[in-house]
Each structure stands twice: as C-alpha cells, then as structure tokens.
C-alpha cells in the first residue's frame, strides 16, 4: 500500500513501462550494430556524395552511431581538405557555395595532391 501511494504521489511510471522503453531502445541499437561491411559501404557512399561538392580526406572519416533521446543518430565526421570541387560543377548557374568549414579538420598545409578519390574504389 505504501508503495502504491508512493507511486501515485511521486508520479513515477511503473517499472515495467520503464523496462519496456529501455529494451525498445537498446534493441534498436543492438539491431543497428551493423556489420562492418555495411558501415564501410555506407561510408563510401557518403563520401562519394560529399566529394561531388568538396574534396574530403578519405583516410580520416569517422562514422559512428549515437543514441540521442529517442532516436539513433548517425554521426559522420568528414574532414574537408579543400572546398574546391574536385570536378567542374554542372553548369546549372547555381551560386557558388560559401566555404563553410564546420567540423573540418584541416590537414597539414596544402592539400596533398588532389587525389581523385571517387575513382578507383
């Protein structure tokens, strides 16, 4: 009875509900513990898309998963070497993008040879 009153007045949810919610989240993370080959493939595709616009450091890309609140987030840390597009942009007359360097970890001084990243692999 004391437990019952405490629960009513404290307003804490029944622990079974908490258990269910915690399980739901942890299993979501477990299921998303993707195989390394899938993460690699995803990384490759991401980089290919980003590389169309800026030159990125392929060697130092980090892709991780993190639980934020109720959802699982994919965090990609993609160091940008140069905002010069590796290939000429499609001439659609779009305004040049502003060089934004959020999260960009600039490597050394000059971009070491604009290795054509998208080719080869």
């Amino acid at each position: 009875m004391i437990e019952f009153l405490r629960r009513i007045f404290a307003g804490s949810p029944p622990s079974a509900d908490t258990a269910k919610e915690r399980l739901r989240l942890v299993l979501m993370t477990d299921h998303l513990a993707l195989g390394p080959e899938i993460v690699e493939a995803m990384k490759r595709d991401l980089v290919d898309v980003i590389s169309r616009h800026v030159e990125v450091d392929r060697e130092h890309i980090e892709v991780t998963f993190e639980r934020q609140d109720r959802v699982l987030a994919l965090l990609a840390n993609v160091p940008i070497l140069s905002v010069n597009r590796p290939s000429p942009p499609p001439s659609d007359g779009s305004p040049p993008t502003r060089p934004r360097r959020k999260r960009a970890r600039r490597k050394a001084a000059a971009p070491s040879a604009p290795a054509e990243a998208a080719a080869g692999t």
Binding site: M1, F4, I8, K20, L23, V26, L27, D30, H31
Partner: protein, 266 residues
C-alpha cells in the same frame, strides 16, 4: 518419418532451459511420444542431474560422435517414462570436442529412432550454441520477463532467424502479481519486443526447486501446478490449439482504477 528436431535455447544462462527441456520432454513422453533429450552443454552437463539420471551415465555424446560407442549404448532410458531417453554430454571434454557436422549427424541419427529430439543448448552464442542449433530444425527460446534475459533472447532470435529456423517463445518465471502491479513486464510486452510467436507461459513457482532437488520431472506428479502447464505446452507443440492460462496477462490499470482498487483494498 523423421523426428522433430527442436533446440531449446536462451542466450542468457539460468533462465530455465534445462528445466524446460526436462519437463517438456517428460510431458511429450507421457503423451506417448518417443523423446530423446540431448545435452549439448559439453563440459557443463546438467540435464542428467535435473532429470535424475546422473548415476546411470556410461557413455556420452562425445564418445558417440567419435565413434567409440553406438548411439544406443549411450542413450539412457528413463524408467519412469519408458518413451524418454537421455543422451548425456561429456563432463570432462570441452565445447570444441565435437564439430557442427558431427553434432548434426548425431542429431539426425537420434531422429531416426524417436518422434522428438529436444536439444538443450548451452548459454551464450559461441561454439556450443552453434553446435546445438546446427542439428535443429526448429527452436524454442526461453526467457524470463527481465531486461537482460530479453536482450539476450533477442540476440539469439537473430541468430536463429539467420538460419531460417522457426522460433517459438516460452516466458518462464512469470510473477502474475508483479505484472499486475506494473512491476514486471507482461507476456504481451515480451512478445511484442521480441516479435516471436508465444508457445508457453510458465509462472514462477517454488515447486520447481523442490522437484529439481529430487531429480524428478514435475510432470510425474499430477498434483503439481506446473505439470499441467508443461503438458499444455506439449500439446501446442503437437499442433493443438490450447488457450493460454490467464495470469492477468497484460492487465495494466490506469491511475484511477488503481486508486479505486487501492481504496477498496484499504
């Protein structure tokens, strides 16, 4: 016709795999089925002890796999249930003493001389588990309504699904009064989280400790509460539609009804 080959597994240890194997096997044997129980926990055998046949072991599964004896020499017939036999694990060898191929071959061999082969899997998802599921065509996952057991069960369900084994779930050690109070996950929640078809609900009952102490399957004694439950599960395995016993499953009260109930109780 070949036997049904069913692995009983859980991921987490101590949730009741061996007890379930013994009592389900005994229930099937009582219903006239020829049953072979296989202890796949090489190095940590216990099925013999829970079944009460530990003194009668001569040969074990590893010796059969290595061709040092015949399967029928290693099988121990349970005198209380003439249709029930045990193939014990080795206690002195370790998990990699038998390969998956050897294990599968052994299960197939056993399946030729009975109606049901129940394989008691070791805990974990390593070699011993892989052996245990290698020879099976169906799986029963045992869990308790606790977060750790359910998470491990989920992992095992994934492994079994990879092998395309049909899976059914037994929720063990349910405490209806705790479910009623909202202090324990209800069976519906467990099934929803795991997305597996339900085969049975076994309430927590001290009977089981007493009968395990003696090495007597509950099913032997008609007065035991749990005996009837295992017999129902056996009937479901046979394809019969048997309604689940209501343990106030899923009964969850809102604040007002709870307050009202509290006032009445008070």
């Amino acid at each position: 016709m070949s036997a049904r080959k069913i692995v009983i597994t859980s991921g987490k240890g101590g949730v009741g795999k061996t007890t379930t194997t013994v009592n389900l096997g005994a229930a099937l044997a009582t219903a006239g089925k020829r049953v072979i129980l296989v202890d796949a926990d090489i190095g940590l055998r216990n099925l013999d002890l829970v079944l009460g046949l530990e003194k009668r072991i001569v040969f074990d599964l590893v010796e059969v796999a290595e061709g040092r004896c015949q399967l029928r020499q290693a099988l121990i017939r349970d005198k209380r249930f003439p249709a029930l036999s045990l193939l014990p694990a080795s206690q002195t060898r370790d998990k990699d003493a038998v390969t998956q191929e050897q294990f599968s071959a052994l299960i197939d061999q056993a399946a030729r001389v009975c109606d049901y082969v129940l394989i008691d899997s070791p805990a974990g998802i390593e070699g011993g588990f892989r052996n245990a599921i290698a020879g099976a065509a169906e799986a029963i996952v045992v869990t308790t309504p606790e977060v750790s057991a359910i998470r491990d069960a989920d992992r095992v369900v994934g492994k079994l699904a990879d092998r395309a084994l049909p899976i059914r779930l037994i929720v063990n050690r349910l405490r209806p009064e705790m479910v009623h109070a909202g202090d324990m996950l209800c069976v519906d929640d467990v099934c929803e989280v795991l997305q597996v078809e339900l085969l049975g609900i076994i309430p927590d009952d001290e009977e089981i400790i007493d009968t395990t102490n003696r090495g007597e399957p509950l099913v032997l004694d008609d007065s035991k509460r749990l005996g009837a439950i295992y017999r129902k599960i056996a009937r479901r395995l046979e394809g019969e539609i048997v309604p689940f016993t209501s343990f106030n499953n899923g009964l969850r009260q809102g604040l007002f009804s709870r307050l009202f109930a509290g006032l009445k109780a008070g």
